[in-house]
């Protein structure tokens, strides 16, 4: 391929030129540096026009985007706020969050900077730059490596061949890219934004575009932990959230276990009918059941209060979720409703495990003289326990964040006068929701999100470390 002489009398084609002229004369870093300055130029030096065009297209697009969105002209007096384009102004906004407030002048209301839009644009610019950086690194690396290979005497490669080869090798990246873009902009971007808001003073007293938002460092964290009313609410809600998550998981697991063991008994008639009935709470959408229970436990009109009066247990209606003097009643009822909703899942699960325990285990136990209770204690429970531990952790995390049940059932009530914007059954997540949506304390809400993430993250990491998943990475 390298030395085939064509009978054509024409001048050598450009593709052959680098081999004829001093291709080895250019040291390897030169194309790399060139590519670092202008993506694709190194490839051009390497005489690979196709590749050069590919990389240059990204470069040109980025520069054009910056130029057209910005305000660049010859001999200008440059400031990022007035002249910067998508990238420059974006990064400027991310750092400063704007410096010109909205003002009332003789000409009327002059709009200032909208800090939150600047912040968001800044993050978008930053993320876009990160994605572009991948292309840039690829370009520099490719230019340098190709030159080294040429210098080592390898044959030249046509751009088309390179891309064909890359397509095969890069299938993974290409297949992942739609998901990557979606996750970056719908998940990573919001999460980054949310984390950053925790370090600003963005709340109802300081709303853009009226006011400028500023970076405040760890002030919000300090506020939650040091201002007594905040700290009190936080610790109270946190304690209840943990109590709730533990009790809710334990009760549903225990009840599910009991039902599964009873259903597995050979004396039960029509086990499938019973099983299907018991599965109903799991199959009915959670929001529907929670709202139905909310109506049943309605203090004024609900049928349960009425029933208790009818049979003479109480003289007056019980305000299950709205009686501030009795927060534990609301908590207990919420746990009971959660038990109703949650036991079928564990029942189905443990039922599956039970059918997989070989009969020989029980026979062996019987021969050793174990009664039914001992069989349960020494055969059934350990096996079920081992299979269900990861699910218990998962259930704990789910209950920790069980927004649906608490919000639909009690809306966090009954009110608690000692708490800030929280009721007695509020979990961290429902409190967070109220802070953000009802009270527009975005910065405090963001701090809470970070705290919730750390708690949930710690538990998940601990769970992962025990499982084999992490070792399989």
């Amino acid at each position: 391929m390298t030395t085939t002489k064509t009978p054509s009398p024409r001048v050598p084609t450009p593709a052959r030129a680098p081999r004829d002229t001093g291709s080895s004369g250019i040291p390897a870093p030169v194309p790399g540096i060139a590519s670092a300055l202008v993506w694709g130029s190194g490839q051009l030096i390497n005489r690979q026009p196709g590749k050069a065009a590919f990389f240059f297209a990204f470069y040109a697009a980025a520069v054009t985007w910056e130029m057209t969105t910005g305000n660049y002209y010859a001999g200008m007096d440059f400031s990022p706020r007035a002249n910067g384009g998508f990238f420059v102004k974006g990064l400027w906004g991310l750092v400063t969050l704007g410096d010109t407030p909205r003002e009332m002048t003789l000409a009327g209301l002059v709009d200032g900077d909208n800090s939150i839009v600047l912040l968001a644009n800044g993050i978008i610019a930053l993320l876009t730059l990160c994605l572009l950086a991948v292309v840039a690194i690829w370009s520099v690396r490719d230019a340098t490596r190709y030159r080294i290979r040429l210098g080592a005497g390898e044959a030249a490669e046509r751009s088309a061949d390179y891309f064909r080869k890359t397509w095969e090798g890069a299938f993974a990246y290409i297949a992942l890219s739609p998901a990557l873009v979606l996750v970056v902009f719908m998940s990573v971007l919001p999460i980054t934004f949310g984390v950053m808001v925790a370090f600003t003073d963005y709340n109802r007293d300081n709303l853009p575009p009226m006011n400028l938002v500023d970076w405040v460092g760890f002030e919000n964290f300090a506020q939650i932990f040091s201002v007594p009313s905040w700290a009190g609410t936080f610790l109270g809600v946190l304690a209840w959230t943990f109590a709730w998550a533990i009790l809710a998981t334990a009760t549903t697991y225990a009840a599910g276990f009991l039902q599964a063991v009873l259903l597995a008994n050979k004396r039960v008639r029509f086990p499938r009918v019973w099983r299907t009935i018991f599965l109903l709470p799991w199959a009915v959408p959670g929001i529907v059941s929670a709202l139905v229970f909310r109506a049943m436990f309605n203090g004024q009109f609900g049928p349960i209060s009425q029933f208790l009066i009818d049979i003479g247990l109480t003289d007056e209606r019980v305000y299950w979720f709205t009686d501030p003097s009795n927060p534990n009643l609301a908590r207990a009822v919420a746990l009971l409703v959660n038990l109703w909703l949650g036991f079928p899942f564990f029942m189905a699960l443990i039922g599956g495990v039970l059918t997989n325990i070989p009969d020989s285990y029980y026979e062996a136990a019987r021969i050793d003289g174990a009664g039914p209770l001992q069989q349960l204690r020494y055969v059934t429970i350990p096996i079920v326990q081992r299979t269900c531990t990861p699910l218990l952790v998962l259930a704990f995390v789910t209950n920790f964040n069980n927004f649906g049940l608490v919000y639909f059932l009690t809306e966090g009530g009954p009110d608690n006068v000692d708490y800030r914007f929280a009721g007695s059954t509020d979990l961290l997540v429902t409190w967070l929701f109220k802070l953000t949506l009802d009270n527009r304390l975005y910065n405090i809400g963001a701090v809470m999100s970070i705290i919730v993430f750390f708690i949930v993250g710690t538990i998940s990491v601990w769970n992962l470390k025990r499982s084999k998943a992490i070792r399989e990475l």
Binding site: A170, L182, F403
Partner: protein, 292 residues
Amino acid sequence: MVDMLRREPPAAIAERERRKGRLSSVLIHLELLVVAVIVIFPLMWVVGASFGPGGGLANTSPIPEDASLDNYVHLFTQTGYGRWYLNSLYVATLNMVGSVVLSALCGYVFARIRFRGRKFGMLAILVLQMFPSFLTAIAVYMLFLNFGLLDSLTGLALVSIAAALPYNTWLMKGYADNLPASLDEAAALDGAGRITIFRKIILPLMRPMLAFVAITQFTIPWMDFILPRLLLQSPSKQTVALGLFEMITDQYANDFTTFAAGAVFLAVPITVLFVVMQRYLVAGAMAGAEKG
């Protein structure tokens, strides 16, 4: 104990065993019956209310005296329920299709292809799935609010897909890991490309996991509250969950029977789906937990 048993005639032992068995059988059935009543009563009550005389909470009963479809008629003519239902259906369908396609593809790539950045990618997935989706939701709300993107059903579906994608990818990857690699290799020897292998070999084998992701992702938007509550605003863009919540939080609980009708109409298809597909769903949840 053993001596005592030996002294008794076999018939007596059998008789005592039988009596003990009958007693425990009665006790077990009694317990099952009590639990069944507790499970069924709230459901019966709401179904009864949906067919009962219209109006408030106070005069509802599990078995209404003069059953009628009035509440259902009212639901579809006087409220936006039909509109909400279609909105939910749209979001649910989009969420299901998008989630299944993307997560199956990503799961296959992570399970079968060794590429640079794979480890980092999987770590990122693990970290991202720890973020409860509502945390993203609140940030998405602040973003959409400032960019004027609120009130879009497609936007809602995209956010839902992205929020669930890490976990679903993890599930798909775990499932694909357990498929024999020899199948791929044989197909590759026959000259099949990556896409062909994925479509013709992996996808059909992943059907149980595809079903699991499809069902969960189809049902989530029907019940999801936080995301739509944050991202949707105008009455014509509400989803069923939002509408139902508004009906029941009405101060005087006047509209309860309409709510009941709406709840039943939402719950019946999903309940049937769950009961029919329970085997898949429990197995899928188990797989998810084992994989972390």
